[in-house]
Subunit: 368 residues, 2 copies
Amino acid sequence: MRPRPGVRPVPQRARPRPEVAALPLYRVAQHAPVRLNRNESPADWPADLKRVVLERVAARAWHRYPEADAAEVRAALARLEGLDPEMILATNGSNEAILGVLLAFAAGGAVVVPVPGYSMVRALAASAGARLVEVPLRPDFALDPGAVLAAADGAASGETAPVVFLASPNNPTGNAFSPEAVEAVVRAAPGLVVVDEAYAAFAGRTHQPLLDRYPHVALLRTASKAFALAGARIGWIVADPEVIGAVRRALPPYTLNVFSLEAARAAAERPDLVAERVRTVVAERERLAGALREVPGVTVFPSDANFLLVRTPLPAPEVAARLLAHGVLVRDVSAWPALTGCLRVSVGQPEEDDRFVAALRRVLEEGA
Amino acid sequence: MRPRPGVRPVPQRARPRPEVAALPLYRVAQHAPVRLNRNESPADWPADLKRVVLERVAARAWHRYPEADAAEVRAALARLEGLDPEMILATNGSNEAILGVLLAFAAGGAVVVPVPGYSMVRALAASAGARLVEVPLRPDFALDPGAVLAAADGAASGETAPVVFLASPNNPTGNAFSPEAVEAVVRAAPGLVVVDEAYAAFAGRTHQPLLDRYPHVALLRTASKAFALAGARIGWIVADPEVIGAVRRALPPYTLNVFSLEAARAAAERPDLVAERVRTVVAERERLAGALREVPGVTVFPSDANFLLVRTPLPAPEVAARLLAHGVLVRDVSAWPALTGCLRVSVGQPEEDDRFVAALRRVLEEGA
């Protein structure tokens, strides 16, 4: 064993860039009987479907590099989307898609993001060397196209932003933006508009029609939510072939492995299963929201996603810690100024959700 | 189906950065009876070992995100390395490790690379916003520490380079640099020195001892060569915990999936199998080199890797094309000025290598 950290001096000559050094290390609590903190699908894939994928993986050559263009997967995803395969790029989760878009388009410039928003964009923008320009959502969490466009046009800095990054439904607020507001941004944006649609299946609509009219739009997808494949790390970008080509150039080749390629193909081939899961989650979301609204002092915000934003009268870090003592992991999102007192709770299995509601009721009854 | 590329105008507002737009799309020929163009291991994993991995994958929760810190894999790799787990970061192939190091340390600055060298570094440096400073190797492909250090110290630009990137054994030349030359660079480099050891197992030595004395060294490893797992996309970085922490911050979390985590663990647990494969490849490399030296007009360069650099009297693109007509894929590396007439050929199965030698003999006998 070599010396543990701290025993020898910090490397004087190997200083990371200050923007990167300042980032927090990504850590997330993972161990509890009820885990409602990561917006995962509440149920694993059925064993027989896993077998189908694993048989295909077993038959592959593990000692060979995978196909650099992931042609089969792109074709399967293209059929799912009703689009040409040249408009698809499969990535190692949608985080890699975000990094790729920022490296290709935003590095050295600004990326405009409404806030509260997806926290990973902050870190990846710092890593990619892009400057983050945050624009508040309206008090009801609606998108403010005028404010976004003013920021993108460089009202403050005098420099137009090469990328506007939206998520709809938005995380952690849970609401989908109105199609009109999103199109207003797209119509007048000075650069690429990225719409992260990680949760779109739960809203029942997509911004895909924008692609017919605007070649400067990129949609991000993930298999981690509706497809129940967070463990397989699969995302994809849907965009004009020119945009796809630029992101391919910015990322390493071969970022999907023999397993994620087969899992992506299997998932794309079974939209029926995904639709059924989405219906189940949406119905359970409404049941959970109803149960939470009966808890005194709790505000439940409208959700188009697979999670709920919930405000309680007590400080959110304390509520989260006390819920964990009851065996329930939720996400404290109260560090966003607009989200004081707020928790983000994934829609789980009914019995998990019941346990969460009971625990929350008890925590609030016990008071501060 | 939506319009194919070219039907609608190029997006005017979504222009990628010129450095990225100028990159070639990564393409590699993949279909031929004998594939000796990607330095892969010549044989797949045995079926029973695949089964062990796939049973573990089947038992995992695919709908959950993997462990963000990949703790089990880091522990297994740390045992393999004889180091502390905090000195290890597992990545989605070593290409992601290169991108992560460049994003954390080099973006906005220079990265010094000896040439001929690993072509992927060029592309990833452009993507990461780092300026590439190329320093020629000596005529015998040895490292020239004085030239590398002069470039790193900014002799030409007046600006010191935050990263020096070496690969030893070097690709595509195949030779390992002398430990003294590498240490001379490390001792005086103004920033981080990355040593890509993708092929070190075939040289029978590693620069790991440098880590005892120099905290500004990062070694890159891959499971794609000696471990025969190119299809699983597994790499890792070995470095001071401070360096590891910086690269973790620069990359997205969760870049290994449930399969690559299990494959990495299984590989790390069986160094005996890897050592046996390495012995086989090294013996076959020497046999192949001997056979090639008997082909009139052919020069075979000394190799410490799992491939050979070969020069023939005919133009390399033509030789490669004619070999492919005989069913043998090799890599034309003659675009490097120092490598006129050169091909890079992976060590394959004995019958594949025999077929390559016979085809080469025939191509050269037929002449230009």
